[in-house]
């Protein structure tokens, strides 16, 4: 009951609000416009996927929200405030493309990292039990394994647990399953949905895969490159839980086709 209340509460507010954001990089070859005049709004508790060709600025968008980058023009608001507030308050979790685990720490010690750093204030904040989180992502019995003893899929599970340990309200995922084989990827997609259902987190999920984008998202943001812009936003009006067989459903197939067409014209 309590979690349902929480969800409703968050749905009402806008979690992420990017307005007319432009990001320019200075390089040796001159200026590159990674994002131009991009606006996107994501409600609390939503799961939105972002897809687009290489170099369309998908990762740049995530880095804007995570306060890893500042926009050259326009604004980014997370829960109505500049994103550094959310970052300092530990309301943001980030899952990187290649897990980015520290190889000298065991799985459990990697998950504990966010509780050890950040001006010493972290320990007093509400957080989740690292061991329970590792069990939640399916690493029972492997808590003391080093990253190089784990498969790619397991490493990415550990990094998801690490991102969740501070109980973030927003989870930013940068092609987290891109390097995994199709079977592992499909399984992790199903598990991510169940984690989302249990934690009521707002998730922004960047991917290269049309299938992943449609299977996970309530909404698919299709971006176009040079310069990076929102090309289309496609709603996925299919309820959860979504079983793997959903992929054979005509409605699903139709939406996937729609995303594909949008990408082709992007």
């Amino acid at each position: 009951m309590e979690s349902e209340e929480l969800t409703d509460d968050r749905e009402a507010q806008t979690a992420i609000d990017v307005t007319n954001a432009t990001v320019r990089f200075a390089t040796d070859q001159g200026e590159i416009i990674a994002l131009q005049d991009l606006s996107v709004r994501i409600g609390g508790g939503q799961l939105v996927t972002v897809i687009g060709p290489s170099g369309c600025g998908k990762s740049t968008l995530l880095r804007l929200i995570a306060d890893l980058l500042a926009p050259s023009a326009g604004s980014v608001a997370v829960f109505g405030a500049p994103p550094d507030h959310a970052r300092r308050d530990r309301r943001l979790g980030f899952v990187f493309q290649d897990a980015a685990l520290l190889p000298w720490r065991t799985a459990i010690r990697n998950v504990e990292l966010p509780l050890e750093v950040g001006s010493g204030v972290t320990r007093d904040r509400p957080h989740r039990n690292p061991g329970e989180l590792l069990d939640l992502v399916g690493l029972n019995g492997r808590h003391n394994a080093y990253p190089q003893q784990l498969s790619g899929g397991m490493r990415q599970r550990v990094s998801i647990a690490r991102a969740l340990v501070t109980q973030p309200q927003i989870l930013l995922m940068d092609e987290p399953f891109g390097a995994l084989d199709a079977i592992t990827r499909g399984r992790l997609n199903v598990e991510l949905l169940s984690i989302w259902a249990k934690t009521a987190t707002t998730i922004v999920f960047v991917t290269h895969s049309i299938d992943e984008a449609v299977f996970l998202g309530q909404r698919v943001v299709v971006m176009s490159a040079n310069p990076g812009r929102v090309h289309a936003e496609i709603e996925v009006p299919i309820g959860y839980p979504r079983p793997p067989e959903l992929r054979e459903d005509p409605e699903y197939v139709a939406i996937a086709a729609q995303v594909r067409r949008a990408l082709e014209t992007a």
């Binding site: 990187f96 980015a100 520290l102 190889p103 050890e116 950040g118």
Partner: protein, 270 residues
């Protein structure tokens, strides 16, 4: 049972691993064989070409010297060991400290790294007499030279190691709002350890070279002094025995660092 062990999780077929003891026995066997062949070749060249004993002593004479001159060799190993270990510790710790300073201050790095590189290009043999003049005939100049020779590889590697952080790790620590201090202690230090140990292994053997070379310039004890003494007295067997002791000293230092590395760096660096 056996088949299961062959293919692992990735489905990549592998050769079934031998039990560890068997691998060790094999390794030792080949090493011993290498020594035996080398000594045999050494002896046969002397016999065939009729090389005089004061030019190249036969292995048997060297063995004899190792036994009869053991007390001399051992008492001269001690000062050299103190000089090389002392110099190694001072040089390495100094290099680690300076590397940390350089990583935190680009300005200091730009100002002083060129000077460090210039000093590095001066050969030890050229610096040694200067230091003996400055510091006298005792242990001090030898320790300084051993320290200098250990210093440079460690400085260069440690700076590289501390800077070897990948962009994703940096982003991770930023998302976690980590302080510079935390990035240093929880990320950079660990990233630098494999680099550090690689250079400490080089420095440990180099410090023995430094101590021995320093003893040549002016000393009445130590393996370097013994080398000079044996050479001028045509005691070639003793000269060879001294070289073996110097080499064993360097190997012991190397092994100590390698052991320490295995204890400290328990993960596999990427």
């Amino acid at each position: 049972m056996r088949r299961e062990a062959i293919a692992d999780g990735d489905g990549v077929p592998r050769r079934p691993p031998r039990p560890p003891w068997q691998t060790h026995v094999r390794t030792v066997f080949w090493v011993v064989l290498g020594f035996v062949v080398t000594i045999a070749v050494w002896q046969s060249i002397i016999t065939v070409r009729d090389v005089p004993n004061y030019v190249v002593p036969p292995p048997g004479d060297v063995w004899e010297s190792l036994r009869t001159d053991f007390d001399t060799l051992w008492s001269n190993t001690k000062p050299t060991a103190i000089e090389s270990i002392g110099g190694f510790l001072i040089g390495s710790l100094g290099a680690i400290f300076l590397a940390i300073v350089f990583v935190h201050s680009r300005i200091l790095e730009r100002m002083f790294l060129p000077i460090v590189i210039v000093i590095r290009t001066i050969p030890v043999v050229a610096i040694a007499p200067v230091l003996v003049l400055m510091l006298g005939n005792g242990l001090a100049p030898k320790i300084v030279i051993a320290a200098l020779i250990s210093f440079f590889p460690t400085l260069v590697n440690m700076v590289e190691g501390l800077q070897s952080v990948d962009s994703q790790s940096v982003e991770l620590f930023r998302v976690l709002s980590a302080s510079k201090w935390e990035v240093f202690w929880k990320l950079r230090i660990y990233k630098s350890l494999p680099f550090l140990f690689a250079s400490l292994k080089i420095a440990s053997t180099a410090s023995v070279i430094g101590a021995v070379v320093a003893e040549w310039i002016g000393s009445d004890e130590g393996l370097g002094a013994l080398i000079i003494l044996a050479t001028f007295n045509f005691r070639t067997s003793l000269l060879y025995a001294t070289m073996i002791f110097a080499s064993i000293l360097a190997l012991v230092l190397f092994a100590a660092i390698a052991l320490l590395e295995r204890i400290v760096v328990r993960w596999q660096p990427e």
